[in-house]
Amino acid sequence: MLMPEPDQHVIDRRDEICSALRKLVPAACVVDSTESMRAFDADGLSAYRQLPLAVVLPETVEQIAAVMKWCHQNEIKLVPRGAGTSLSGGALPLADAVLLGLGKFNRIHEIDYDNRCVVAQPGVTNLAITHAVQADGFYYAPDPSSQIACSVGGNVAENSGGVHCLKYGLTTNNLLGIEIVTMEGEILRFGGKHLDAGDYDLMGIMTGSEGLLGVVSEVTLRILQKPATARALLVGFDDTGAAGTAVGDVIAAGIIPAGMEMMDGLAINAAEDFANAGYPREAAALLIIELDGPAVEVDALIERVETILRAAGATSVRVSQSEEERNLFWAGRKSAFPAVGRISPDYLCMDGTIPRRRLPDMMRRMAALSQQYGLRVANVFHAGDGNLHPLILFDANVPGELERAEDFGADILKSCVEMGGVLTGEHGVGVEKRDLMTIQFTEDDLKQQQRLKCAFDSGHLLNPGKVFPHLHRCAELGRLHVHKGKMPHPDLPRF
């Protein structure tokens, strides 16, 4: 992975930069020893590591603003970092960039039941929001699998999802307001406790912008009343295509389950070895379907879903009879990644989305690619919304296997786009899928996105080298071609 060429002049000024930063934040908040910076050299995409120029851990929003303003004035690049759980390298440091860690922003400012929202600092973990309100019957819906560790500010940057987003949406659908600090050090608020801003939806643009537009310094999250009950079905199929069709049948019947997950044979057995959840080992595909809501509704819908699944050719159906059993059904799915980690020295976790009806084609394509590359693949899907998580098994100690696994992964993502889908459903582009962006987008598509970046960060100082395969100077992007005559006002400054 090629990152932007580090600027040696900046690296040479490291001591000077660190002492300038120490004037903006308490001295202990600047970390610059190699040893201490080691903890920040990678995020969840741990195949890539890089020590930053320095780490700054501010304690107030004003300090964030001061650091960013100083970096802007001195043309120093900046990489923001929440909890460092990104799976796509969004928080990968750069040798000539200051790493801005938001870890100290771990306080919940306000729990507001009248308006059903929580105002929190960006470093609060996703799960801590639910913990703060669950005694009163509320919860925060987005539940990425890293929810115990990932921060809500990072959730905004990555527009994180989870297993329940089929019914409850991604982060962007559960966010009411944000405060951000721009690269120039300006503190801005988008949205708030009201709905729909009435101007450009800059909160919507910030969500999922992977730390390229601004640093999130506060979030206002919508909280929901916890459903009265939840029950799950564990359903085996002897064919993945039939399982995929069954998922469509459930939705076509007007039922939106809280979650609909699918696993293939290899994933089923790895998970069963790990969690003893009672999964049908002989099945080619397993569905976990969860329904939540008022008890009478859940009971009625479980019956309807069971009928649909049997008609679709299910080979086994189990319905959870207790909360304990429902959690057991999920235990295997939730441990699928570590379980696969046990059957292979290394694995790559991919994340593409396809139109759900293309699932059988995709399964065939993956089987063929698996043969071609000589690597096994285990499949875990958020089946309800067509989001695939193929896990490519390899051994990094075997020369060339990492590269082969990466090529295999790239081919899967290319297939996703070919089938009408997209490169990433929830993990983000980061550095991991950066160079594949041209498969999904034309040059003009990407230029328009980068022009928007210029509206926020004209010097390309914030998180450069992520998301976009080619960096264009803002002045170049702003150039306007006039096809039908002369460029008007040639003397006007160009954006």
Binding site: R116, D201, G208, V296, T353, R357, G420, F495
Partner: protein
């Protein structure tokens, strides 16, 4: 340059390029059902996109519909109804809110998206912006670009769909768009709760939302309007709570909430027509009044309403659990100024002039003015799509 009727994005590209070359500005329009929303644009020619119509691909079991932005809303709604699905954000019919000659206009899906118009279910199901999955468009630079996709879960690149929603055509002209659809509820009922005053109504709704009985929409009508709508409970205010779902679930939840609040219920047909009237703000829009809407935190709503206490002749109603306030007055200049002032004192919210009958859009800005750093950022965002100000220039704010 002369007015253009576009049949394709190639036509749009041509029109935008011609406008750039001639230093002209364009007003983008569908059927004109929302032409009184926002400021009057500064334009030399109109770009009519209503011919760019038709459903391209609709897969109910995939929960996605791809269609052209000029598709009339009645066509969209009929196709959804045939598959027992809906646009969950319940877009109002802006023509009925506008009234007068526009009241029979259904509008286009592109107009709904451009105005980010959402109805009562917005409170729990989200806004238009939560359902636009992707689009392709011509920018104000005359360039074809796309964003998002045709799948439900996608974080590839910036989410420009969000920006298109509520941008009032100031950034780009869309053709194909993809929306997420959802199954329509099998049935619905409403609960009517008598409340002694507005504050009590807000509090009652908050208490209902702190139960697991899944209320889907919540409006508040003052007694005079409740009486006109034949839902007078005898309280100074009536809180109206809508519950949707399968029949067994709806009756069970309504029964639970009835026990809790002592309210009365109305069944599906009456409930549906009442909510359609609330969605289209009919209790206020049927009078020849200026209309304002305020979006605020529900708990701030009593303060907004109290600020108008001494103003006579103001009718109001609330939706979104109090988070959306509608006001009507025969001459609303004082009303508008007061709403702007009280909203500016709140932590968050905005006041918008939705219909001008007596006041004109020239004398009072329809959109809440933006504080300076935000205005500057808006200008830069506008310039990144439309550096020459070709598209709907000034529709939202002067200079954007």
């Amino acid at each position: 340059m002369t007015d253009v009727i576009a049949a394709s994005l190639a036509d749009v590209k041509d029109a935008v390029e011609s406008a750039i070359a001639a230093e002209h500005r364009l007003e983008v329009r569908g059927t004109g059902s929302k032409s009184n929303l926002g400021r009057a644009c500064d334009f030399d020619a109109t770009l009519d996109v209503s011919q760019m119509a038709g459903i391209v691909d609709y897969q109910p079991e995939e929960l996605v519909m791809t269609l052209r932005a000029g598709t009339p809303m009645d066509v969209v709604e009929n196709a959804l109804a045939d598959a027992r699905q809906m646009l969950a954000f319940e877009p109002p019919r802006m023509g009925r809110i506008s009234g007068g000659p526009r009241s029979e206009l259904h509008g286009t899906i592109g107009g709904v998206v451009a105005a980010n118009l959402s109805g009562p279910r917005r409170l729990t199901a989200g806004a238009t912006r939560d359902y636009l999955l992707g689009f392709e468009a011509i920018s104000g630079r005359g360039e074809l670009f796309k964003s998002g996709g045709r799948v439900m879960k996608n974080v590839t690149g910036y989410d420009l769909s969000k920006l298109m929603c509520g941008s009032f055509g100031t950034l780009a002209v869309m053709d194909e768009i993809t929306l997420k659809t959802l199954p329509a509820p099998e049935t619905s009922q409403s609960l009517l709760v008598a409340c002694a005053d507005f504050r009590v109504a807000i509090k009652t709704i908050a208490q209902i939302f702190a139960t697991p009985h899944e209320p889907g929409a919540a409006a508040i009508l003052p007694q005079a309007i409740a009486a006109e709508e034949k839902v007078d409970t005898g309280g100074a205010f009536t809180a109206i709570i809508r519950l949707e779902g399968i029949a067994a679930s709806v009756s069970d939840r309504v029964a639970n909430l009835q026990t809790m609040t002592g309210g009365e219920t109305i069944a599906a047909p009456a409930s549906e027509s009442l909510w359609q009237r609330i969605r289209d703000v009919q209790p206020l829009a049927e009078k020849p009044h200026d209309l304002w809407k305020v979006s605020c935190a529900p708990s701030d709503a009593p303060r907004v309403v109290a600020a108008l206490d001494s103003l006579v002749g103001v009718r109001f109603m609330a939706d979104w659990a109090g988070g959306l306030l509608w006001f009507g007055a025969s001459r609303s200049r004082d009303l508008g100024n007061r709403l702007r002032a009280v909203v500016a004192e709140l932590d968050s919210g905005f006041a918008m002039l939705v219909r001008d009958v007596a006041v004109t859009r020239d004398e009072i800005a329809p959109f809440q003015p933006l504080p300076s750093p935000l205005f500057e950022l808006h200008k830069r965002v506008k310039a990144s799509f439309d550096p020459r100000g070709v598209l709907n220039y000034g529709r939202m704010h002067s200079g954007i």
